[in-house]
């Protein structure tokens, strides 16, 4: 998030696109509902499903899955046409406006209606409400990123916020909601193939030298492989060993059948986890790890707030904290790691990661600290891009709409989109150990009333969903909240794994797979 959670109260209009906020980020959902109900903030929700928070919206619009760029361009088209954009801001702080203007000028409400299914009039209402708001913020989650056009989508959200002068101020911002407790921290810490901690590029000579000096060893120069590329490389025999710490690609990655095949081809699969996950079952060696409740350390949340993790219970059996296992392994491979506590590692993080330069366990103790926080005296940064952008001028870029990789066709006429439900989490490794949560939410296929009628299923009856890659069976949840021609399947359940169906096609830049759109057919089971 460019902005912080407490800043929600400073918005006049909030746009949620591609985030089932009350299910996936309930507490932020509550904050948004609060300002809508009690501070007269206006809410716009654009989502293929009429998600719960849409009940609080001034305007709810249902777009066709994968048409976000068209929708955002359409909104910008109207905002520019009606002069609702922030000219001064665009002139002073941004570049590339003419390019953007040229591209979006094509996206008339008529055209956007055709592409997205959002009626002309509704698009106009959205543009006016958003464009004329003094301060508007934008929230999104995986509904924006998990597309083959994910980067385009993200860029479009940034275009819109720059256009309206909403970046770099309280209550504004482009606010991606991070889906896991420390996905932000994992990125910040350089658990990515192209960057070191603090987003210092591995191809950057200076950065590399800095790390080489600190660690006393020559480091690789080439950008590494992403998850999906690793699996592909494993399938091709190029990657022979895979070390997985606390991840479960057998449920979380697209086209699970392919994932399984790839893992089987490995010479060595090491899985370090707290449970025998679907992935761990494929492993050659399993290391038992400590859970969050059994360790000290730091997590970084979606608003870049670094917060403490504190040890509450002892690790069961012989299980150990992940860093302890890593240290053992490093030393067994001939190295000389000598961290006494996780806090020692944090000291190293401080010295090598500019954004974390001033972040110590002591300082984050009570309220946490939001990076960037370069020095021990720095108070942290609630919102980014204040005054000017990190790169100087904000770059606007005209983005053309592209269709998703796999569209419904005669044989697979239905669009499948995937995501989360409130009561379960990710691949269920944690949440599905709770009987209560399982009682509340089991596998399901959310299906429109019309489609249910067509295939002759009623609520609770089993329905089969089949894609080019696999098939699953789960009880139907028949509802008006989803539109005709679309089904939604949560990906938490191994017994009805949505990712058996999904398309592994990825965004060319971010390498994020297109979980949100693929073509399926449905039938009564």
């Amino acid at each position: 998030m460019t902005n912080d959670i407490p800043g929600i109260k400073s918005s006049d209009v909030i746009l949620i696109i591609g985030s089932d906020t009350t299910s996936a980020h309930p507490v932020i959902g509550s904050r948004i509902k609060y300002v809508v109900r009690h501070q007269n903030v206006k809410l716009i929700v654009i989502d293929p499903k009429k998600i719960d928070i849409a009940d609080y919206a001034t305007i709810y619009a249902r777009q066709r899955c994968g048409s976000d760029v068209a929708v955002l361009n359409g909104i910008m088209h109207l905002i520019i046409k009606n002069n609702w954009y922030d000219k001064e801001y665009v002139e002073e702080r941004c570049e590339g406006f003419e390019d953007l203007k040229k591209v979006v000028s094509e996206y008339t409400p008529q055209k956007v209606e055709k592409l997205s299914g959002i009626p002309e009039k509704q698009l106009q209402e959205i543009a006016q409400l958003f464009g004329t708001a003094p301060t508007a913020s934008l929230y999104y989650a995986m509904g924006i990123t998990q597309h083959t056009t994910g980067t385009d989508n993200v860029w479009s959200t940034a275009n819109l916020q720059m256009l309206c002068g909403n970046l770099g101020k309280e209550g504004g911002g482009v606010n991606p909601l991070r889906g896991q407790c420390n996905v932000q921290g994992a990125c910040d810490m350089g658990a990515l193939p192209n960057v070191y901690p603090g987003y210092q590029k591995v191809i950057d000579e200076t950065a590399r030298q800095k790390f080489e000096k600190a660690w006393g060893k020559k480091l690789p120069e080439k950008v590494g492989l992403t998850v999906t590329e690793m699996l592909k490389a494993a399938d091709e025999g190029k990657v022979k060993a895979l070390y997985i710490m606390g991840e479960n690609p057998v449920l979380s990655d697209p086209d699970i059948n392919h994932v399984r095949k790839s893992l089987e081809k490995l010479d060595l699969l090491v899985v370090q986890d707290i449970f025998m996950t679907e992935t761990a079952e494929f492993a050659d060696v399993v290391f038992p790890a400590s859970s969050f409740a059994e360790k000290d350390g730091l997590y970084t949340n979606t608003e870049r707030r670094v917060q403490r993790l504190r040890k509450a219970v002892k690790s069961p059996g012989k299980s150990k904290e992940d860093w302890v296992i890593l240290q053992k392994l490093a030393n067994a491979m001939g190295s000389d790691w000598n961290y006494k506590t996780a806090c020692d590692i944090q000291d190293e993080i401080c010295s090598l990661t500019p954004q974390y330069g001033g972040i110590t366990w002591d300082r984050v103790d009570e309220e946490g600290l939001q990076w960037p926080c370069p020095t021990k005296e720095h108070p942290g940064t609630p919102f980014l891009h204040k005054g000017k952008f990190a790169r100087g001028k904000g770059l606007m870029k005209g983005i053309e709409f592209k269709e998703p990789n796999e569209l419904p066709c005669k044989e697979y006429p239905i669009t499948l989109t995937t995501g989360r439900v409130l009561q379960q989490f990710h691949t269920g490794t944690m949440s599905r150990k709770s009987q209560g949560l399982n009682n509340l939410a089991g596998p399901m296929v959310m299906i429109s009333v019309q489609d249910a009628e067509t295939i002759g299923v009623s609520n609770g009856e089993k329905v089969k969903v089949i894609s080019r890659r696999g098939e699953i069976e789960a009880p139907a949840f028949v509802t008006k909240r989803i539109g005709k021609g679309t089904v939604f399947v949560p990906f938490h359940y191994r017994e009805a794994a949505a990712n058996l169906l999904t398309n592994p096609a990825v965004d060319p830049v971010s390498k994020i797979p297109e979980y949100k759109v693929c073509a399926v057919k449905i039938a009564k089971a």
Binding site: I5, P6, T22, P26, V27, K33, R37, H38, Q180, Q184, A186, M189, A191, L192, Y196, P197, F211, L219, P220, G224, V227, K240, L242, Y243, I244, E247, V270, I274, M276, A283, V285, V286, P288, S291, F292, A293, E294, G297, L298, T300, N301, L309, R310, K314, K318, K320, W323, L326, L329, A342, I345, Q346, G368, Q424, F425, M430, K433, L440, S510, K511
Partner: protein, 354 residues
Amino acid sequence: MITKMIIDDKEVPFDQGQTILEVARANGIYIPSLCYHRKTGQASKCRICVVEVEGMRGLQTACSIQARENMKVVTTNDEILTARRLIVNLLLASGNHDCLACEANGVCELQEVAYKLGIEKPAFIIADKEKPEYDDSSEMIVRDIKRCIQCGRCIEGCNKTVVNEVLDFGYRGHETKVICDDDKIMGESSCVQCGECAQLCPVGAITDKKSIGKGRPWDLKKVRTTCPYCGVGCQLYLHVDENTNNVVKVTGYEGSLANDGALCVKGRYGYDFINSKERLTTPLIKENGKFRQASWEEAINFVASKFNSIKKESGSDAIAGLASAKVSNEENFAFQKFMRKEVGTNNVDHCARL
């Protein structure tokens, strides 16, 4: 300008807009209150916070009167104590407030006031009370309506903190009760079981079902940490039974910037995995398609030598690693350092994209 007032002959500072109750609390002066809560605000329903304010006729509720410069307040005298005793007695007499098996025993605010006033049992019984209602239809939350004192905190919380808009007051007078939707049982209502109501309840009327009988508050250690589910980073307390090494309850941490005490159904009630019998407790090595237990030494050495040999035979880039969005910063740092420095590859990623 420093503003000050006098409570029980003690000069205390205050901020504009603070109520007498808030000033007293900020200065360590005890005024009981059953309905006021920082998050749900003033309700003036329990009337137990009455004090005497110089220049004002009759007793005043400390939760509703704003502090003024040089205001003089008396928090305890015979009249005040009589009023407080009556209120506690009325509450004790009108509901089922036996503490023995009550989940709130030890954290109950009514019990606390009764204790401070030296009330062992109600001074009288109100005969015609018949409200035997116990709603355990919800998966995670139990409502013991006989213990409800109708302070309204749960309702304010449900509507103003988490904005799930399930609870409200229904009926009137002595029949007044907290209802879910149109007076449905909780398990059939639109409640999403975030548990905010249980967290705010000053007595044992709304409690966490899973924690019942699992430990007295004074026997449990509270450890503040960060929720392991989504990226909001809610701050919470794990309540730990140190004898059994179990987490038996989770509550939200009040005052934190990310969540201010609120949690969702997963964060509050999805903690079973920590104590799960299915946890991995020993390293495992697969032999002939089956796992066998191994010592750390064996498992580590096995992997280390494998990594070394693959490195040698196929190069560093034949090894790849996935870090985790669920482990700490320190551990992710250590992981990428391991991959880059010890293995010598940038093939490191995690499921940020998934």
